[in-house]
Amino acid sequence: MKYLAWIALIIVSGLAGVMSFQWLSAESSPKQAAVSNKVIATVPVNLFKITSSDGRFTELNNDKQLYIAYFGFTHCPDVCPTSLAVLSAALQGISAPQRQQLQSLFVSVDPKRDDPETVSTYAGYFHPDIVGLSPQEGQLLGLTQSLGVYYKYVDIPDSQLEYSVDHNSFFYFLNAQGELLAKVPHTLDPEPLVTKIQQLLPQ
């Protein structure tokens, strides 16, 4: 029975993912892109019921106004650490009250190699406010599909890495209701993140 519920959840979120993907593609026309603060997609809050190894995160909670989720993996030597460093710089560029209303999440798309402790240590290194999560595979699938996160395991023959995870690189801005309010593409400059935080958390 529990499995059935999971399967249903995955199918529903899969559909939601497809729909939101179409939505997003439709939205990228310049006319609509200027409109901000509208809901791009809604993630079933159950999918965010993930307890971090340090217990600091258990689910989306009204204690926080805004969540920033970034999806990656700890074996990523480049894009993920860069993104987390940029996020960390952005967190240093906002006010203390804003920081308090904000929760940053680093979500692993590589549960095989990233246990919750590994992700936790990894994320916390970049900024103590960033919590690392390693969802189970079904939950990960639902989360990524409803947000439109792309990831794919690719074998790298002859590399000690064995396999890499191709992935897109966006910062997803959500509220406690699981509503996706904005996504900011990969950046080497914290400014777009700071701007978005200021917009969504006016002090």
Binding site: C76, P77, V79, T118, Y122, Q160, F170
Partner: protein
């Protein structure tokens, strides 16, 4: 036998000296890592002052069990990391290994890389030349701070 080896090594070192100038390496740094991080990366800039293409073919460091040459490709907004056999530096050109692109990827780190430390690095080039460098460990944002 010994004299042959000696002659060979002498030849080799002359060869090394002659090729030292082909590639100039600048701005090398290793990325500081979280505790127990599985990997790190080294970034640097290579300038080829010679008249032929010279490639970086391998690298090694006592600080890591293995070093691979990697590149990051973009397919739309999807980041794809792949291993490459060599990194070509055309005559008179500069090639930058930087975040979001080419990098040396380090596996089996002896310990985590803390800012302020240094890492010994050996680069091997296609013309037989080698270079030994001492590379500082830096945080990835160290460069961006100057922009603001």
């Amino acid at each position: 036998m010994r004299s042959i080896l000696l002659a060979l090594s002498l030849l080799f070192s002359i060869h090394l000296a002659a090729n030292d100038a082909a590639i100039t390496v600048n701005e090398a740094y290793a990325r500081a890592t979280p505790p127990n991080a599985p990997t790190s990366a080294i970034f640097l800039t290579m300038t080829n002052t010679s008249e032929q293409t010279v490639s970086l073919v391998s690298a090694s460091t006592p600080a890591a069990g293995r070093v691979e040459l990697h590149t990051m490709l973009m397919d739309g907004d999807v980041m794809q990391m792949r291993q490459v056999e060599k990194i070509e530096v055309p005559a008179g050109k500069q090639v930058e290994l930087k975040p979001g692109g080419l990098h040396l990827m380090l596996f089996d780190l002896a310990s985590n890389f803390a800012e302020g430390e240094e890492v010994e690095l050996t680069l091997v080039f296609s013309d037989g030349g080698q270079q030994q460098l001492t590379v500082p460990v830096k945080k990835v944002m160290h460069k961006m701070k100057h922009h603001h």
